[in-house]
């Protein structure tokens, strides 16, 4: 499995921490799925609230890699400031860089994304950019110093799966050595398996697990699917063919008519 900024992950499953019915269910989802990375955010804290401390200690107990995001930022400067606050709070130079360019689709803004990536890399961050399947944008992000790409499967929270397999395949083929994570848009495990089968290195999701009827079971389901897709690539799948071919040999068949 490819490394992410020199880090080998125990599993290629990155899981969000938002929207769970309870902290206990969140923790259980991580433990039972063996997700190896947890995405987190920074939000306003009131005096005496101490919500952050409670959340943070819970996450720390999960003993996973923490990947803070810049969710909701619509400009490079906002994202950069948010990243710096996150680095101080979470004591990590990893940052999931989101610069949203379009409110309905939450699509990344290619321009703000590259701008922010360049600033953050210069400041010593290890940037995980949430991007599209655009190969030119990918090239710019790599030029800016990103060593990982996180193309979307579909718009955040839609659960539509991989809406542009052709584009994602082209992206994967164009940069064979770059670690890539399919981030956002997945709804069911088969889509995560498909992403791994296409050669992506990991999968990041949140809503599909947190909003399932049983988030813990769904987290495990995704974990299994990701293992399945990863193993499938290593096992070298058969080549699909248009015409049928018998699996049971015809030779030796009894003549009975």
């Amino acid at each position: 499995m490819r490394q992410f900024y020199g880090t080998s992950l125990a599993t290629p499953f990155m899981l969000g921490t938002a929207q769970y019915p309870s902290p206990a269910i969140l923790a259980d989802a991580f433990r039972q799925s063996a997700a190896s990375v947890a995405t987190v955010s920074v939000r306003r804290e009131s005096a005496g609230e101490r919500a952050g401390t409670a959340f943070w200690s819970m996450i720390r107990d999960l003993d996973v890699h923490v990947l803070p995001n810049t969710a909701g930022c619509h400009s490079a400067s906002e994202a950069v400031t948010t990243a710096k606050m996150a680095r101080e709070l979470f004591e990590t130079d990893w940052i999931k860089l989101e610069v949203i360019g379009h409110t309905d689709s939450l699509q990344p803004d290619p321009f703000g994304l590259v701008d922010a990536a360049r600033q953050l890399v210069a400041d010593g961050f290890k940037v995980f950019p949430y991007t599209t399947e655009d190969v030119v944008l990918a090239d710019r992000l790599l030029d800016a110093g990103c060593e990982v790409l996180m193309p979307w499967g579909a718009p955040i929270g839609t659960g539509l799966g991989l809406i542009n397999p052709y584009g994602l395949r082209s992206l994967r083929a164009q940069f064979p050595d770059v670690p890539m994570v399919i981030d956002a848009g997945l709804g069911v495990p088969s889509q995560a398996a498909q992403a791994m089968e296409m050669g992506f290195d990991a999968v990041l999701l949140n809503t599909a697990v947190a909003k399932a009827g049983d988030p813990v079971m769904m987290a495990v389901a995704f974990a299994r699917a990701i293992e399945a897709g990863q193993a499938a690539v290593r096992a070298d799948p058969m080549t699909p063919r248009d015409m049928a071919a018998p699996s049971t040999p015809l030779i030796g068949k009894a003549f009975l008519t």
């Binding site: 969000g16 921490t17 938002a18 929207q19 769970y20 969140l26 995405t39 987190v40 955010s41 920074v42 939000r43 306003r44 804290e45 009131s46 005096a47 005496g48 609230e49 101490r50 919500a51 952050g52 401390t53 959340f55 943070w56 996450i59 803070p68 995001n69 969710a71 400067s77 906002e78 400031t81 710096k84 606050m85 996150a86 101080e88 709070l89 979470f90 955040i156 956002a184 949140n206 809503t207």
Partner: protein
């Protein structure tokens, strides 16, 4: 002086970010700060004075996707 803290107007005695955090009652809560959209590291809070009209943002760890 009047400043805004996390978007709300606050009337508070002038001072450093450290002093203001203390007065607001954050004590030793683990937070990160920005003034007027610029990050202020914990190490610089003592030396960063707030003036009237400043916008102070105080954030902490939260759930994220």
């Amino acid at each position: 002086m009047k400043i805004t803290v996390n978007g709300d107007p606050v009337e508070i005695e002038a001072g450093s970010v450290t002093a203001v955090l203390a007065k607001l009652g954050y004590g030793d809560t683990k937070v990160a700060t920005a003034v007027n959209g610029v990050f202020v590291p914990a190490s610089q809070r003592d030396d960063t004075a707030l003036v009237a009209g400043d916008a102070l943002e105080i954030v902490a760890p939260r759930q994220g996707g």
